[in-house]
Symmetry: C2
Subunit: 169 residues, 2 copies
DNA sequence: ATAATAAATGTATATATTTGCAAAAGTAAT
DNA sequence: ATTACTTTTGCAAATATATACATTTATTAT
């Protein structure tokens, strides 16, 4: 009961932060926002209470950059955005492929790939450094995906959907 | 003589700005800089005198963004950087190819491509919006490249080399 | 449980960046 | 050359963002 309480507490609190980061990420990805105050308001609407200072840290943590935009002056952008649409293509010139399936169990994700593809796909995942995933281990046709504490299956799947369009829809 | 003087004048002055932008672009591309004051010093060393306000405008014009960096906190980054290395791959999944040659004449650039490739390659050029190039016109196997006033052939060629590695070396 | 340690956050402030406005410089037309 | 128009730039002020420090909240070890 005592230990259980601690764990519960941890989950409750940590989830709030991870959720906040997820929501922040989603906002930055889907909307054109040009200041932290603006972001702050949007986060408030979603039910997150925080100060500009914390937001600044969150943005840094998520590696969110600020770039010039034709319409809004400056907007925030996730790392690799714009690159994302081309990410399904691997650097070596071969189209990203080999993905077979994704399942979750015991708090972990298991991605199945075509034989021999696990290494390169895991490498691709690592390179994009989705914050929902703290690490991967690849065999020959299987990748073990370790989610960050508090990251939901959906959050992990969504992060992976950036790389593997098959996961969408 | 009178007209000539005006033209000379224009070239002299405009070149200064275009050159400055080129140098700025080069600095941002090759060094990790984390503030405009820092950039200002580097530009001064290269012989360019300007205020921080102008630099801010230059950065906006060049679409230079600022992103978090592990070592230096925040650094400036050119649009599409990091994407550049993957740019030789087209969105449709086919490797970027079809480039044949590049020549200059009458202040214009002429790029030859494989038959039928001009459109897609010109589109790729337009999408990266190199500031040295104000526009392109594509036929079937030829692209007309219109450089910005004051942009040297080298500057244009370098900008294009980002997309067409064949142009390097 | 308590004390010690580490992590997250807010407050206030320092830094950094953008922008309105006016002046200077460049261009075009008469 | 003079005038009208456009572009570029600096100055100063407004905004926006990062960070040192203190405080609270969580985690670990005893």
């Amino acid at each position: 009961m005592y230990i259980f309480a601690k764990v519960m507490y941890k989950n409750t609190i940590m989830k709030t932060k991870v959720q906040r980061l997820s929501v922040l990420k989603k906002i930055v990805k889907t909307e054109k926002v040009s200041s932290q105050d603006e972001l702050l308001k949007k986060l408030k609407k979603e039910g997150y209470q925080l100060t500009q200072a914390t937001l600044s840290r969150d943005l840094k943590y998520l590696r969110v950059g600020k770039i010039p935009d034709d319409r809004k002056g400056y907007i925030y952008k996730l790392p690799g955005e714009g690159k994302d649409q081309e990410i399904p293509v691997m650097t070596n010139g071969f189209p990203m492929s080999g993905f077979v399936s994704l399942e979750f169990g015991s708090g972990l994700g298991i991605m199945k790939t075509l034989p021999g593809y696990a290494g390169s796909l895991a490498s691709a995942i690592d390179q994009t450094r989705p914050f929902e995933i703290i690490g991967t281990v690849a065999g020959d046709d299987t990748i073990l995906i370790v989610p960050r504490d508090g990251a939901s299956r959906n959050a992990v799947a969504n992060a992976l959907a950036e790389l593997f369009p098959l996961l969408r829809g």
